[in-house]
């Protein structure tokens, strides 16, 4: 998981985590204090019990009044402990969940202002897992750390102190034998490490096969390859069984072995304690107290080693989240950035240079003047920079050199929000959000009425399929559009823009998934919409851009031809070539 992290600096991760916890300083201090109280009291109770045992020596030799007093003491101690425990737990929950909430909030806020270049370069799944799964692991680790690490350390220390106070030799027995349990645990852990590695490798292999064969299950069925695939799976499965069994069995030896060490400690305390008792060096009650300490003393060791691995894991995950939060955001807006109201639609590109990667030039010295209301079509082979132009117009990316201006103002001096709301954009990659169809159409104008939304859907020729959905406009769709076809999704995206009717339009392969017949109808709607609006159209199908005022023919980031359809055809250049090849069926 932590593979692609640039060596997480543990110290800074610590610092950052502490910084987040710092907001809840008071709570954290309270929690620590309560942990100390809890531990002290839990350690005190066995002593009280031992004292009580010492007061019941034999028939007739029982100090009932003394015992009653002790029992009362125990009662008070128990109630205090329980209370302290509950408040401590609640404090810990409060701190953890709020820290996590804060981290998530910051991470999400960062996502909203990250430059597109980061988001384009990172798989959405990876970022999501940072914000969700990694933060969750951090929460688990913090919670365990808070609840078990402090109490564990305190318990060990406290027990040692109490034991030393009462009997040094027996304490030495305990202290000498306990490390054995560490050694055993460590021995097993190093031995099983390779087995686990083997297991996760085999698991990975199997998951890859599963992904492929379940993902393309229909093809497996089409070729009747079910049995062959099952055999292949079975072979890996068998190997997995073997190495899983090894890894799980050997790692599960840790518990019995440490328990065995515990038993040895217990037996040691028993024998030595009894010897001392015979010599009168210790009372029976104290001995019983020591015995219960012997049980208690070793437990936190096991817990702590568990917590430490958990914490390491948590910090590795935290480092990934912090790496996201620390990302450089997009260039902040000027303080006096102008708000672009209703744009007239004069767009000018002056000597624009841009590349995604510094050493691979893409767009160079691009010049373009678009008058209000003009239709600009951009054509060219794949990878020639068509979509990049759109990215620059929308200011998803900033130009490296040169400038782009709308109505005479450099777009870098405009607020991003106002610039973008002046464009209506339909992309090839349809994106819908989980929610009702209506919400999706109203995305750009949440205050629009249902009638307006329906009208927009009708204009986009989406109405007929929407009304056939189970709940019509109120049908809830999943994020990827669920059962909607690619074309239907595209129609919804178009309806979304139709509802806003911004002064400028960007259509990037907006109808690529729609059949040509519906496309024709939509083209009419588009044509109506484009009336008086500056529009930029990127299209694969040349038939859709014939009507444009300016056709830019791009190749390798440069505009190689420019003009309207007829003049370009007449020139008999690249465009004419492209156009004719399409109809040489």
């Amino acid at each position: 998981m932590a593979k692609n992290v640039v060596s997480p600096d543990k110290k800074t991760t610590w610092k950052k985590t502490l910084h987040y916890i710092g907001k809840y300083k008071f709570m954290a201090l309270l929690s620590l204090l309560l942990a100390a109280v809890t531990v002290a009291l839990t350690l005190y109770i066995p002593i009280l019990t031992g004292d009580a045992v010492d007061l019941m020596i034999d028939v007739g030799l029982v100090d009932l009044a003394g015992i009653l007093k002790i029992v009362k003491k125990i009662g008070v101690a128990v109630i205090l402990t329980a209370l302290a425990q509950w408040v401590m737990n609640t404090c810990n929950n409060y701190i953890c969940y709020h820290v996590v909430q804060d981290v998530r909030k910051d991470a999400f806020a960062k996502i909203e202002i990250l430059p597109l270049s980061y988001l384009d370069a990172h798989a959405a799944g990876d970022v999501v897992s940072r914000v969700i799964a990694d933060v969750d692991t951090l929460a688990d680790g913090l919670l365990m750390g808070f609840t078990q690490l402090f109490t564990g350390v305190l318990t060990i220390g406290g027990t040692l102190v109490f034991m030393l106070i009462y009997n040094i030799p027996i304490t030495l027995v305990v202290v000498c034998i306990t490390p054995l349990s560490f050694l055993v645990a460590k021995f097993i852990a190093t031995r099983t490490h390779d087995m686990f590695l083997e297991q996760s490798k085999t698991r990975g292999e199997q998951t890859a096969l599963i992904e492929e064969m379940v993902g393309s299950q229909k093809i497996v069925r089409t070729f009747s390859r079910e049995q062959a695939v099952k055999d292949q799976f079975g072979e890996i499965n068998e190997r997995l069984q073997k190495c899983s069994l090894k890894a799980i069995f050997f790692s599960s030896l840790t518990n019995p072995c440490t328990r065995f060490v515990n038993s040895i400690v217990y037996a040691g305390v028993g024998i030595f304690g009894a010897f001392f008792a015979v010599g009168g060096g210790i009372t029976v009650g104290r001995l019983s107290c020591f015995l219960s300490y012997a049980n208690q003393y070793t437990k936190p060791f096991n817990e702590i080693s568990g917590v430490i691995t958990e914490l390491q894991n948590a910090f590795a995950c935290a480092a990934r989240v912090f790496a996201l939060i620390d990302q450089e955001p997009q260039t902040p807006e000027d303080a006096d950035a102008a708000v672009l109201e209703q744009a007239k639609g004069r767009v000018e590109l002056e000597d624009v240079c841009f590349s995604y990667v510094p050493d691979r030039k893409l767009i160079e010295n691009l010049n373009l003047k678009v008058r209000p209301g003009q239709r600009v079509a951009i054509v060219g082979p794949t990878g020639c920079g068509k979509t990049t132009v759109i990215n620059l117009l929308m200011r998803f990316y900033d130009v490296d050199r040169g400038s782009i201006s709308v109505d005479g103002t450099d777009i870098r001096h405009l607020t991003r929000g106002s610039l973008r709301t002046n464009y209506g954009m339909v992309l090839q990659e349809t994106w819908l959000r989980g929610g009702s169809i209506l919400d999706n159409i109203r995305m750009g104008r949440p205050e629009a009425t249902e009638e307006e939304a329906v009208a927009a859907a009708k204009a986009a020729h989406a109405h007929s399929f929407i009304k056939r959905l189970p709940q019509g406009y109120h049908t809830v769709i999943t994020e990827d559009g669920g059962s909607l076809s690619q074309g239907q999704k595209q129609l919804l995206c178009i309806a979304r823009v139709m509802l806003c009717l911004p002064p400028m339009l960007i259509l990037d392969e907006a109808t690529s998934s729609i059949d040509t017949r519906t496309e024709m109808k939509i083209q009419n709607a588009f044509a109506k919409m484009m009336e008086g609006r500056t529009s930029f159209i990127v299209a694969h199908r040349l038939s859709t851009i014939r009507e444009a005022d300016i056709i830019l023919v791009m190749k390798d980031g440069n505009i190689i031809e420019q003009g309207d359809h007829e003049s370009l055809l007449a020139r008999n250049g690249f465009y004419a070539n492209l156009y004719n090849s399409q109809f040489a069926g």
Binding site: V214, R259, F275
Partner: protein, 624 residues
């Protein structure tokens, strides 16, 4: 959960032995306080160092035996759990691979993958822990009680009251929090959903300037999640303090009653210590049990998710039966003559007969009439076919009837969502028809053996998917025993020869998972080759040339024409150019057949076809 237990069947022995050895271990552990009591009462009281040492060694002996039985138990538990999950995984994978297309649509790929991987892993560790601990904890709890009984019955009654009280608290809190934890999970899912949306839809969200609204939306769900977590946390934080109070209340009672009894000589000091020890053993075990129960509920939830997959598909089997019956009924309803039925039963000969008859009719326009009218059988015949996907309200295909002759090329064209893919998916029987029937060589598709039937088909799906391996291993999917020549011939036909020749290792060039190391066009041509390797009787190209440029597309169609005498080809496309030369073109509009015929006929008569065609060739309209 019950459904899954069968996969433990082969591990009965382990399932019994693991808890049994755990029981042994627990029993030895329970003896420890008794031995200690003896050390106190006999050894210390009599100042007998030899006895103390003997008993001390006895303690170590108990520890050793405990270790041995515990290790044995761990082994059997691990063996059963791993074996169980291995079998379960294989069964689940097999089940998923066998799901029909309808079921697969319902199932959803990504959740199937998590169920096969992480869910089963959870179940595995659940089974493992259960075998290890689930018996141990109650054994210790009740064993401690029983041991208390052997020491003193009256004192043991305190245990009898304490244990149920503890159980009520532990299980009560579990019962209350469990559904709440589920809510937390769904809250987390919601937060995850919003995050993902904001990543995948970043352009749209920024284009509509919705960043602030989105942040608010996220913060709301984030806050709701935290509140829910806090609420659950407060309840579950009660668990430890309350159990602590109960156990210690019992301890207090034990001390007091014990003191009274010691005073009367009914108990010794050592016995009181032993009873107190048993009580603390219960407390330790309870904590473990609580953790185990959390793990188990998680595992159970996962087991339910896994088991749910097994229930998918059972339904379709029934449907298939029902389908066969209705199929039979339509046979009778269609008023098929007795003679026809007998012919149909002798499937092969009927097919041959049909072939003969067709040969006779060659040249004279055959095909438009259905078999029942003139007693002959067209190669493939759709009779009033309708298709409604499960769970869908509307018919996807409605009353589609047409016939196809052997060797013909059939083009299918129509708008987005008009049912083109659905129509061709019916031919290999990927989906059962809901009404009407499809006859291949005069025999209802439902009467064919599924695998035998599909082995006659070459299907090239819309989404070109290849598998990790080599080019050869991928092509062999089409025909496992294909010779080198057959592979090259298929590659050549599919215009994929130069792809393979350009690769190092040629046929043995590596293909990455999902064919990631190939371009869209290359993948598409290889999937076409894969379908052609088996020299199919029916070839279905479902928009399979979309990633090819026009020139390659044309060449491909040219080469496919050479197959005409053996292979009946269906081409689904949105490009009029891809299908205009077909022997027959089916025009679909909204699930209905809007026209049928050759390009020229349709251009003359079919309005829908005209619209499609002229939208792609506007010049021709102008020239008209």
């Amino acid at each position: 959960m019950k459904r899954l237990i069968v996969y433990l069947r082969d591990y009965k022995k382990e399932c019994v032995l693991a808890p049994l050895f755990k029981l042994l271990e627990a029993a030895f552990e329970l003896l420890v306080p008794l031995v200690m009591a003896n050390i106190i009462d006999v050894g210390i009281a009599n100042q007998d160092k030899g006895y103390i040492l003997k008993m001390g060694l006895c303690l170590i002996g108990l520890a050793l035996v405990g270790l041995a039985s515990s290790v044995t138990a761990q082994f059997f538990a691990a063996k059963a759990a791993v074996g169980f999950s291995t079998k379960l995984r294989a069964a689940l994978f097999g089940h998923i691979e066998d799901l029909s297309f309808t079921d697969m649509d319902q199932a959803g790929t990504s959740t199937m993958i998590t169920r096969l991987t992480s869910d089963i892993n959870q179940v595995q560790s659940g089974v493992n822990m259960t075998l290890r601990l689930f018996l141990r904890s109650p054994i210790i709890v009740f064993g401690a009680m029983i041991m208390a009984f052997t020491i003193d019955v009256r004192m043991a009654m305190i245990f009898v009251v304490t244990i149920p009280a503890l159980a009520v608290v532990v299980f009560g809190i579990m019962l209350v929090t469990m559904p709440l934890y589920k809510k937390v999970q769904s809250g987390l899912d919601r937060t995850l959903g919003i995050t993902r949306e904001n990543l995948t839809g970043v352009r749209v969200i920024r284009a509509f300037h919705q960043e602030e609204t989105e942040e608010k939306r996220f913060q709301e769900s984030n806050q709701a999640l935290t509140n829910m977590q806090m609420f659950v946390g407060k309840i579950s934080a009660c668990m430890n303090p309350v159990t602590y109070i109960i156990v210690n209340a019992a301890v207090m009672l034990l001390i007091y009653k014990g003191a009274l009894k010691v005073n009367l000589g009914e108990l010794t000091q050592g016995q009181v210590v032993a009873i107190l020890n048993y009580m603390s053993q219960i407390l330790v075990e309870l904590v473990k049990l609580a953790n185990l129960i959390i793990l188990m509920t998680k595992a159970m939830a996962c087991a339910d998710r896994v088991a749910a997959v097994f229930t998918i598909g059972g339904e379709s089997e029934r449907q298939k039966d029902a389908g066969e019956q209705t199929g039979l009924k339509t046979d009778l309803k269609a008023g098929a003559s007795h003679e026809e039925l007998t012919e149909r039963q002798t499937g092969i000969s009927a097919g041959e007969k049909a072939d003969e008859e067709k040969k006779l009719k060659n040249g004279s326009e055959a095909g438009e009439q259905t078999g029942s009218e003139n007693g002959s059988f067209p190669y493939l015949c759709f009779e009033h076919v309708s298709l409604t996907y499960r769970g869908a309200g509307e018919k996807t295909l409605e009353d589609v009837s047409f016939t196809v002759d052997k060797g013909d090329t059939v083009g299918i064209i129509g708008g987005t969502g008009s049912g083109k893919t659905s129509l061709v998916n019916l031919i290999p029987g990927f989906y059962p028809v809901t009404e009407g029937r499809i006859l291949l060589e005069g025999k209802d598709l439902r009467e064919y053996d599924e695998n035998a039937h599909r082995s006659r088909m070459g299907v090239v799906p819309q989404k070109a998917a290849l598998f990790a391996g080599t080019i050869r291993s991928n092509l062999l999917w089409g025909k496992p025993d294909a010779s080198e020549e057959e592979l090259w011939r298929a590659l050549e036909l599919a215009q994929a020869k130069e792809i393979v020749e350009g690769k190092e290792g040629r046929l043995d060039a590596e293909v990455a998972q999902n064919g990631r190391n190939l371009s869209g066009g290359q993948k598409q041509r290889l999937t076409i080759a894969r379908a052609l390797v088996r020299d199919p009787e029916i070839l279905i190209l479902d928009d399979s040339a979309s990633a090819l440029d026009y020139a390659t597309d044309a060449k491909l169609r040219q080469s496919l024409r050479s197959l005409e005498d053996r292979t009946t080809t269906f081409i689904v496309s949105q490009r009029a150019s891809s299908i205009r030369h077909a022997d027959k073109i089916l025009v679909l509009d909204d699930g209905r057949l809007a026209g049928m015929g050759t390009h020229e006929e349709l251009l003359r008569d079919c309005q829908v076809y005209q619209e499609i065609y002229y939208s792609q060739y506007p010049e021709e309209r102008r020239s008209r």
